[in-house]
Amino acid sequence: MPDFNPTQYAVPLFVIAVLVEMIWAKLRAPEAYEPKDTLISLSFGLGSTIAGALLGGFALAIFIEAYQYRLFDFGPQWWAVWWAWPVCFVLDDLAYYWVHRAGHRIRWMWAAHVNHHSSQHYNLSTALRQSWTGALTFGFLFAVPLVLLGFHPAMIAICSGFNLIYQFWIHTEAIKRMPRWFEAVMNTPSHHRVHHATNPRYLDRNYAGVFIIWDRMFGTFEPEVDDEAIRYGIVKQLGSFNLLWAVFHEWIGMLSDIWRAPLRHKLSYLLREPGWSHDGSRETSDMIRNRWRARVAAQGAPVASSVATRNPIAAGSEPA
């Protein structure tokens, strides 16, 4: 089994790229970086690497167990089956889309994934802002179907490593749009800015890793509009540069909600979408978006590039 972790080798490139983007920021957009925010984001990156090294073995053990029950067998030299690599990469990206979507729609998983979103900045250091607590969710189970199909766990690990490396460069405001054909198929800075935005129209959109086609296919795609300033982060901004609070705030919030909730609602605070509450005292992303739509419609202004607003039937059918 090849012991190869592509992200590890990419780290020096990440450092150089952040450095280059900082120089760009100095010349064009000094507000794009904030030293304390950068320090927190990069500490998230380091911590998640350590957490992965310490806790990643559990997922690997499950994959290796599941591999015993594979449907197809690529043989002992599975790595030499060249076409298996691109197929594995595309299927792994599909699995990423779903794990990422679950990461936004199931509070248990959001408790970990929120780490990636809690910066009010959007630059290459934000890309390295990765969760410490991913192993405490069940996200890795989304890749088990690939193992059962016969893709070796090491092949999947390498593909998802390259997937993560791809996602690094799209965390920037320095690139406005890529060529049209590229924007159509691939995840880009423009598409991913939408994903990190808290503007109501953008909430819970563009879950893609490498290929944006999954969002177009499953109804979660939203294009970036040019006449609305993006604000980044989470609906309820942290307002704190405390690293440990940034790591654990949503775990603490979720557990205290479960603790206080009436018995029959406890599970909902674990498995329903962030912002859901049994007494309607909070707002989910769908509620915020609907309220915004109603407000804009009442003001009589057309909601630019929002098909759903022109089509009330589509507005009622929010994806889960």
Partner: protein, 138 residues
């Protein structure tokens, strides 16, 4: 002597992190935005809570924090966080204390902390905030 590779990588990464954050600081990236005009207040308030329309407000003398009230009587605290603004609609857990022209406001969240505003006549704001009995809509 054998140094475990994870330890070596961690030390290297930590050095790189401090170097990059230090560079951001040295390049003076960030800047300090301020709340000056009415439009700033309206824009930031609607960023904190979509659709929040301030009717009246008080901006701290240093232009880094503000209180805003909407037609429903909700009070929003806005303050600088790094070089962005963050805020909260104040609930029952919020508290305020006026001393001279200094108003200290807490939204009830430990890590959001307390915000100090220098405003003329802070007492009515303090009383209004301490009167809020609505449960904090977190």
């Amino acid at each position: 002597m054998d140094i475990p590779p994870l330890l070596l990588q961690t030390a290297g990464s930590l050095a790189a992190i401090l170097a990059l954050a230090g560079l951001a600081w040295w390049l003076k990236l960030g800047g300090a935005p301020v709340l000056v005009g009415d439009n700033d207040i309206r824009r930031v308030a609607s960023e904190v809570e979509d659709g929040f329309e301030p009717l009246d407000w008080a901006v701290s003398q240093d232009h880094t924090a503000a209180l805003a009230r909407d037609a429903e009587g909700r009070i929003m605290l806005i303050r600088l966080h790094g070089n962005r603004f963050a805020g909260r609609i104040l609930g029952a857990k919020a508290g305020a204390r006026a001393a001279g022209d200094t108003l200290t406001v807490g939204c009830g969240e430990t890590w959001f902390g307390k915000t100090r505003l220098i405003i003329a006549n802070p007492n009515p704001w303090a009383e209004a905030i301490n009167r809020i009995s609505e449960p904090c809509h977190a």
